[in-house]
């Protein structure tokens, strides 16, 4: 028995210093890693092997490396290195520039688009890139609803898998023509989105179901290895048609704990990281070896209320009451200065933002009155689904959830917090299991359509693949958003989006939380890194200074 007690005591001590020991463990293991990988820790080794490796730390692993099937930023981060799209965004904004396509011409009526393609591109598996490959990819995305983004962006659904793209045809070896069933204003912008990266048809056929583990594209980096929940390694594509990368290798490491990840950055075993604890920003800024790089803001975090579920959340008055019962100004202090309070679903940096809208404000009495009017004066029990890891738009989901839990207690709403892993969270909320759920969105193409249509249109409120996890189904909003998609005149589109935001504000399917400028902490050795507002960028332009 004595031994057992000692053991208990030791495990207890272990619990207290858990954090410290975990870190030193990590540090040890990564030290040996970095020796092997010629990390910047060890310049001698680095120079000897002549290899430049960038180690990027983040909170969660990619879900799939087939970007057409995912919506999460962690997957896109990696696929953005491996694939190219027909057009790409410029380095600092969402204007497009040539990539796989060198030039493009829309028809007068906006219904056909012709793209001239590069003739000197090879996939990483050695096969040539031709117009047929573009056709193959687009046809593949139109075969199933599991190609989520295709559905979001082109209005495809189970009944109409092609959506607004009627036909994609190769009009030459290096020319491809799209025929649309209706004009689509953001079409070109959308084609630059990483989910529409062109994959090698040979590799898709070869790997079948397992393709997502063996991605083959044309991008600046070649996929090398994926150790799930640990790391993904990509190496430089020497034959890249664009600017060949400065670094030889990029390793994306998954380190779930924010604090542990930051300590690794401080100790030099990783070079860059996302998901900084807000309270660590100052520490990083005062560290002479580190820099904070702020990503331009184009995101929103929100708490969606499941309007499709029977019960209080289906009542507009209740949703408005919840908007009134949460003290947003206080809540936003949890962002430690990296976030501004949100009142609309789209960020103010985007055109079409409706600044006329007045946020609900914090008014407990009014909230109580609305609840009483809706017949819930005595309150009710409800679930709030949240996720364990930080997201760029929500650095501290659990704490934020607890703050809301406490605030809603004031109006007799009893909140049960349900915390899940990132990918579980996505799938349960897409299935509509929640009453309320946290989520956020980083804009993909700089068009309001990419926020409002994806997140709040009834077309995207389908169980199992919902982008609209509030399951908000307003025909009025739908009509406005569809009209804005087909209208090519930006001024008229702005009008439509302003109106849509008013309706959404009134119906309150969300409690909008914040727009952030997500901080990225990096070693000062990392230079020429320009974070893109869409949340990820190819790493071929950055460099590591010795």
């Amino acid at each position: 028995m004595k031994k057992r007690n000692l053991l208990a005591l030791f495990s207890l001590l272990f619990a207290i210093v858990l954090f410290v020991s975990a870190c030193s463990d990590d540090a040890n293991s990564t030290d040996s890693d970095s020796d092997a990988n010629a990390n910047d820790d060890d310049q001698a080794t680095e120079e000897a092997s002549g290899e430049k490796t960038l180690i990027f730390g983040r909170g969660a692993d990619s879900i799939q490396l087939d970007p057409s099937k995912v919506t999460d930023g962690e997957s896109i981060y990696v696929t953005n290195q491996i694939y190219d799209t027909l057009v790409r965004y410029k380095e600092e904004n969402t204007e497009v520039k040539p990539a796989l396509a060198t030039e493009w011409t829309p028809s007068e009526d906006g219904l056909t688009w012709t793209f001239k393609l590069r003739d000197d591109v090879k996939f990483h598996d050695g096969t040539d890139f031709t117009a047929e490959d573009v056709v193959y990819n687009f046809e593949r995305w139109a075969t199933s609803a599991e190609y989520i983004y295709y559905g979001y962006m082109f209005g495809a659904s189970e009944d109409d898998l092609g959506g607004i793209i009627e036909k994609v045809e190769a009009t030459g070896d290096y020319e491809v023509k799209f025929t649309l069933s209706e004009p689509n204003a953001p079409f070109l912008q959308t084609l630059a989105m990483p989910p529409f990266g062109i994959a090698s048809p040979d590799a898709i056929k070869e790997h079948g179901e397992d393709y997502f583990k063996n991605p083959v594209g044309t991008g600046p980096f070649v996929f090398e290895e994926w150790v799930p929940d640990d790391s993904i390694t990509v190496t430089k594509n020497e034959n890249y048609f664009g600017e060949v990368a400065n670094v030889d290798k990029v390793i994306f490491r998954t380190i779930p704990d924010n604090g542990a990840r930051f300590m690794e950055l401080q100790s030099g075993s990783i070079d860059m990281m996302t998901g900084l604890n807000p309270q660590d920003i100052q520490t990083a800024e005062s560290d002479e070896n580190l820099q904070i790089i702020r990503r331009p803001s184009m995101n929103v975090s929100y708490m969606a209320m499941n309007t499709g579920k029977e019960g209080p959340m289906s009542e507009k008055l209740v949703r408005q009451a919840i908007n009134l019962a949460i003290d947003k100004e206080k809540l936003i202090t949890l962002y430690e200065g990296i976030g501004k309070a949100a009142k609309n679903p789209i960020p103010p940096s985007l055109w079409g933002y409706n600044d006329e809208i007045e946020d609900y404000g914090y008014d407990v009495e009014k909230a109580k009155a609305l609840l009483a009017e809706a017949g819930y004066a005595d309150g009710f029990d409800i679930t709030l689904y949240t996720f364990a890891n930080p997201r760029p738009y929500m650095p501290q989901p659990k704490v934020t959830a607890q703050a809301i839990q406490e605030m809603l207690k004031e109006v007799n709403i009893n909140v049960e917090i349900i915390e899940n892993d990132w990918d579980t969270h996505l799938s349960v909320t897409e299935n509509g299991e929640h009453d309320m759920a946290f989520l956020g969105w980083t804009g993909d193409n700089g068009d309001p359509d990419n926020f409002l249509y994806v997140l709040l249109d009834k077309d995207n409120a389908k169980m199992g693949s919902a982008g609209n996890i509030a399951f908000y189904k307003s025909d009025e909003v739908h009509d406005l958003l569809k009209e804005a998609q087909t209208e090519m005149d930006q001024e008229k589109r702005t009008e439509l989006y302003l109106k849509a935001q008013e309706l959404i504000h009134e119906d309150a399917p969300w409690f909008p939380i914040a727009h952030t400028t997500p901080p990225i902490a990096a070693s000062k050795k990392v230079v020429d890194y320009v974070p893109h507002p869409t949340g990820s960028e190819p790493f071929n332009l950055l460099d590591i200074k010795q």
Partner: protein, 306 residues
């Protein structure tokens, strides 16, 4: 001299030949002896004090605590210890001192309920196995062996994964994990007791098995059960804190110590007090139960008596 013993389960002197009717004075003296030995032993006395403090804290929580354990003051989060907040504030501006004070109630609850489950089931299983022997013994003890093959925290995690996260389920899981220890100890005690003459005598005057087991055998295993219970409470609190640390036990905003550790770890560099104090609370309580458990064992084992 005959007087009514206040002890519910008088412990017979093993050398006594009395059948089921132990000599009262001797028994009381044994208890008194044991109590004296606990108080005299420095370590177990410290353990006893810690536990008394814990119990008093739990009972008087509303009086001791300076704030509500769940009241948030987001603007004043991560305040270092001060006269206003003795142990500082956490990530939501809650008073850590008050949370730890209220957390003592949860720890006691966990200790009592989890160990209660383990004890009741464990004692019954161990008693049955030891008393009846043969195939019943084989079946029960092999199941117990299987349970012991799992590291306890792993088994608890698996059980919570099946039952679903939550404080109640965590207590059940920790309780189940504690069963084997009790079963083993009780079984071995029963094995030796059932061979004694007073049991033989009880049987010979026609007492049924159930009566012999419940009335004569188990009451005489009380000493090892008490020791094991005390030691188990410490382990149970630790295991439950571990489960809460992993997010499988107490759910927010419950001020459970393990959950507080987990919530505070993000700030360990900037606000170490957020994790240090709940950690120390766990440390001292488990230490207290272990010291007392050790002391009890020494005190209740007559073989150590000089």
């Amino acid at each position: 001299m005959h007087h009514l013993s206040l002890q519910p389960n008088p412990l017979p002197d093993p050398n006594s030949a009395n059948i089921g009717e132990p000599e009262q004075t001797k028994s009381s003296k044994l208890w008194l002896d044991s109590a004296m030995r606990i108080v005299k032993s420095k370590t177990s006395f410290i353990g006893l004090c810690i536990i008394l403090i814990l119990i008093l804290t739990a009972i008087l929580a509303p009086i001791i605590a300076t704030n509500s354990p769940t009241d948030q003051d987001i603007i004043n989060r991560y305040q270092p210890p001060s006269s206003e907040h003795f142990l500082g504030t956490d990530e939501l501006g809650r008073d850590i001192f008050s949370r730890i004070v209220y957390g003592s109630r949860i720890s006691i609850q966990i200790g009592v309920i989890a160990v209660g489950i383990a004890m009741i089931i464990g004692v019954l299983l161990g008693g049955i196995a030891g008393y009846f022997g043969r195939w019943i013994d084989q079946i029960i003890m092999r199941i117990i062996d299987i349970m012991m093959a799992f590291p306890s925290i792993l088994l608890a995690i698996a059980l919570v994964a099946v039952l679903g996260p939550g404080l109640t389920n965590a207590m059940i899981a920790v309780g189940i994990v504690g069963i084997p220890q009790f079963a083993r100890i009780v079984r071995s005690a029963v094995l030796s007791i059932k061979e004694t003459e007073y049991i033989e005598a009880a049987k010979s005057i026609g007492a049924k098995n159930g009566r012999v087991l419940m009335q004569h055998v188990l009451p005489n295993c009380v000493a090892p059960i008490i020791v094991q219970t005390t030691l188990s409470i410490g382990t149970a609190i630790l295991d439950a804190a571990g489960l809460s640390f992993l997010g499988l036990g107490a759910q927010p905003p419950t001020p459970e110590w393990g959950a507080m550790l987990s919530d505070g770890q993000a700030a360990i560099q900037n606000a170490p007090w957020v994790v240090a104090f709940p950690g120390l609370a766990i440390f001292f309580v488990v230490l207290g139960f272990n010291l007392l458990g050790d002391g009890l064992r020494d005190a209740l084992d007559p073989r150590l008596k000089q």
